[in-house]
Amino acid sequence: MAKAVLNGIDVHYQIKGEGPDVVLIHGVTSTLAIWYMKVLGALSRRFRVTIYDLRGHGYSGMTETGYTSDAMADDLLALLDHLGIERACVVGHSFGGSIALHLAAKRPDRIAGVVLADTGIACLRRLRTIEDWPGWKNWKDELGEYGITYDWFVEAEGRDVADVIRKSFEIPQQFGIRKGAPRSTARLRKLINETRITEEFRSVAGLTEEVLEKIQTPILAVYGETSPYQKMGTHLATVMPNYRCKLIPDTGHFYLMHKVDEFLTRIEGFLMDPSGFVGETEERRVCDGTTDSSVEPRCEASRNGSTRNQL
């Protein structure tokens, strides 16, 4: 098991394959295991792929603080330095994408491209509301069995997201190798109950829309069609200059667990040549890959050069 001491903590990582560097970052309460079963093996046929456990997660060290996208971008930079990686494409699931964007803003020389895998961005939280979350109808019956109603969710999320996460611990895993096993583990409980992660990862921490507008790094975003963050993906097309967005139909935030092949198909060309993939006309800044006609008009809005921030 490979570990490096970076910014005062042990960071657990794995490297596989040969080729241009690609670094994969998991989301909050996940671990590098989310990439291990399929993505690592598939991408390592063409790339040297690094996966690592974020601070406080998996086999990396836990601290009380240090969980903003800014601080965790510093951890990523330290890992790149430690491994001698001059420049890499970075793929981030969920909050992992915010970390990648933050490093692209701070050190564009080190980031060749960013794949946002259903990333929620703190400065765009106004776009993530349960009222217009397309997937709520898919989950409400199941969540209701655990006492999670619409009213409870809205109230709890507004008060303290830690309560939402603690409540989710009562729901067995829905996908993957731990399907049916309890979501709650000792490590997760410690992370949520004894650190400042739930307030820090939701803080803007300097990654504002004004900062996002200035990021010239090529960005490919892949959102689940029914994800609560999907609106952020379409909005970013009006904000970021070198940005392209794709949707995966009939899936939500956790498509990596059950539609990973569709994800890999969408990102492979980008990882081979990020600049060529997005270096383009306004027309190519559309969101595609969806059969849902209700989504397309929002994407068309950016293609036609409509006023920014109208979404």
Binding site: M1, Q14, A33, I177, K179
Partner: protein, 100 residues
């Protein structure tokens, strides 16, 4: 590589599981019937660490990710320790994919 007897592999595996306990926070008895996730309280990351530990121990690449993927696709995803012994017995005997 030298063929390994199932009982030797079983002993190896139980020893490796024991060595992982510091990271993996489980103190109960481990048998071939123990389910990694439901009984031994493995997290996904513990399974990844176990795969790395096995590859290091045998100095051989193993299709461990594929093994986990197949298990995850079953209706009941858990993996019993005995299944893992069978997996190792099969792949170590074949001597596939030895590390350079």
């Amino acid at each position: 590589m030298q063929n390994l007897d199932r009982s030797v592999i079983r002993t190896d595996l139980l020893k490796i599981l024991d060595e992982l306990r510091d990271d993996w926070e489980f103190s109960g008895e481990v048998t071939e019937e123990s389910g990694l996730f439901t009984q031994l309280e493995f997290e996904s990351i513990d399974a990844v660490a176990l795969g790395s530990a096995l590859e290091d121990h045998y100095n051989q690449s193993l299709p461990f990710a594929e093994f986990l993927t197949k298990a995850a696709e079953r209706k009941a995803a858990d993996i019993k320790v005995g299944e893992l012994v069978d997996f190792l017995t099969s792949h170590l005997r074949n001597g596939e994919g030895e590390r350079a």
